[in-house]
């Protein structure tokens, strides 16, 4: 058996063996039918290998190399689009801005209420007027005075407001209070004192779910103030707690950050072509939206669109995206998470 093992090694080397080895081999093959059969098998394997090589010689090598290099280029340079605020933070921001917007509405409301609440000569008519106003506020966020005595009430209130506080008030005689004055720090403290003084109708309004809407966000964004910034800072401790991040923090609060360095792909994983789609010669393009974290990894990834859904392209693209690694985006020397969007194309060449 030991002899057979030795010969087996020689068989694999055949015909690149020395003449003495060849003699040994021939002698052993004549004596040992098992090894003779083994020799036949190995010769057949060599033939099969030669046949494979002939078949592979038919492959267009230039096209093969070009495809490899194209895949490499594609993985090296994915297409980036400008960053979009991540959804998780967008919700927090929306809530913060909605709260800020509610405060603004309070403020406006408080200006018109100032006279009534401060005036010691408030009457039952005033109480009735309050109720009417709260009702209106809940319905349409528009405080209108009752038609009767509206003129004189408004004039009186406006006068008192001007005396008590140096706040720009809406002086026009329009019914709507939608014109929001710029919010200042003094205003917000004033609002707080108003809240303490027991305007429960308005507090209920803060918690009203419909306050979270795009309109509110836009309104609040346009009126960025120290107050909103404070709330925003409180909602983003991960950003604002770090020393040296002040510059970015300021920029963040106005929701505009200029990314100096976009993420650079270090490792882009090529998705597996779904077997079934390949066999059926089906192609497709998946648009991927991925969040590049501050450590360069991708945790959150979504499919934006897929022109051939249900064939496994989305799953393959998502799986590959999650395994990709980037150099994270940065601004002012601080890494930032950004969203990038890139198409993943599955092209079946035999299509």
């Amino acid at each position: 058996m030991n002899e057979c093992r030795k010969i087996d090694k020689l068989l694999w080397l055949y015909p690149d063996i020395s003449s003495s080895e060849l003699n040994d081999l021939e002698r052993h093959l004549n004596d040992c039918p098992d090894c003779h059969q083994a020799f036949e098998t190995i010769k057949t394997l060599a033939e099969s290998s030669l046949k494979d090589q002939k078949a592979l010689a038919g492959i267009d090598t230039a096209a093969f190399d070009a495809r490899v290099m194209r895949k490499i280029r594609e993985q090296k340079a994915p297409i980036f689009v400008p960053q979009k605020p991540p959804e998780k933070y967008a919700l927090r921001m929306a809530l913060s801005f909605a709260l800020a917007a509610t405060i603004v509405i309070f403020l406006v409301k408080s200006v018109s209420d100032l006279g009534d609440l401060r005036s010691p000569s408030s009457t039952a008519q005033n109480g009735e007027q309050d109720k009417y106003r709260v009702l209106n506020l809940e319905l349409g966020r528009q405080a209108t005075l009752p038609p009767q005595a509206a003129g004189e009430m408004r004039a009186e209130a406006t006068k008192k407001v001007e005396k008590a506080k140096d706040v720009p008030a809406t002086k026009s005689d329009s019914k709507s209070l939608a014109t929001v004055p710029p919010v200042t720090a003094a205003d917000s403290s004033f609002t707080l004192s108003m809240m303490k003084s027991g305007a429960s109708g308005f507090v209920a309004n803060i918690a009203a779910p419909e306050s979270v809407s795009i309109g509110d966000i836009v309104l609040a964004e346009n009126n960025t103030s120290a107050d909103i910034q404070q709330q925003y800072r409180a909602s983003r401790p991960d950003y604002f707690a770090a020393p040296g991040s002040l510059q970015v923090a300021e920029a963040q609060s106005s929701n505009v950050v200029t990314i100096e360095k976009m993420p650079i792909a270090v490792k882009m994983v090529n998705p597996e072509y779904p077997v079934w789609a390949r066999k059926q010669a089906l192609s497709g393009t998946v648009l991927i939206l991925a969040r590049v974290e501050i450590d360069g990894s991708i945790k959150d990834v979504q499919v934006v669109s897929c022109d051939a859904p249900g064939l496994g392209f989305e799953e393959a693209a998502l799986k590959a995206a999650k395994e990709s690694v980037f150099i994270p985006a940065s601004a002012n020397g601080l890494n930032l998470p950004v969203w990038i969007e890139y198409p993943v194309k599955f092209i079946c060449k035999s299509q």
Partner: protein, 185 residues
């Protein structure tokens, strides 16, 4: 068959790492045929073998920095290709086998009996390889179709040379047993 020599390979690897894509293309040129050879026999499908080989080279490109330059590049490249083929075979088991293509064999042109017999033997051997356990099949394919040395196979499969030799011996024995069965195929 083009077989890259070691010193040239290492030089190309260094240049490729420095950002020279032409050097990588040289590596591609030197190792393409061997990698394709083992992929074709392991997967048994020319289109899939081509894809697997391409994918392997892309992986080689992006993981070139992980390559230990003291080692044999040919063996390292083959181990990448081997892993790619294993992945594909695993996926194939998971998915349906309905669309599995059978390797096309050259039609028999010669009419003499010897040629037919040798052709039959060839088909038998190729079918028998398919039936071997994966460990034996891998070592046999690397040796017979990739023409790798024992030490290279040991590096590729991360086993000892003795293991390679014994597996090869068993693989060859098993193969001979299978094709000598009259009712095979």
């Amino acid at each position: 068959m083009l077989v890259g020599n070691d010193s040239g390979d290492i030089e190309h690897v260094r240049q490729a790492l420095a950002g020279d894509d032409k050097a990588f293309e040289q590596l591609l040129l030197c190792h393409r045929q061997r990698i394709l050879g083992i992929c074709l026999r392991l997967l048994g499908d020319r289109i899939e073998a081509e894809e697997a080989a391409q994918e392997s080279f892309v992986k080689i490109y992006f993981h070139l920095k992980d390559f230990d330059q003291a080692r044999d590049f040919a063996a390292w490249a083959a181990s990448v290709a081997m892993n790619e083929c294993r992945d594909r075979l695993r996926r194939r088991v998971r998915h349906s086998k309905v669309f599995r293509e059978v390797t096309e064999f050259d039609s028999i042109r010669e009419s003499d009996t010897d040629a037919i017999e040798s052709q039959e033997r060839l088909i038998k051997v190729e079918k028998a390889i398919e039936t071997l356990p994966s460990k034996l099949k891998e070592v046999l394919v690397l040796k017979a179709y990739g023409n790798y040395g024992y030490d290279e196979i040991a590096q590729i499969l991360k086993v000892k040379i003795g293991t390679v030799m014994s597996r090869l011996f068993r693989a060859r024995q098993k193969l001979t047993d299978i094709i000598n069965k009259d009712d095979f195929i």
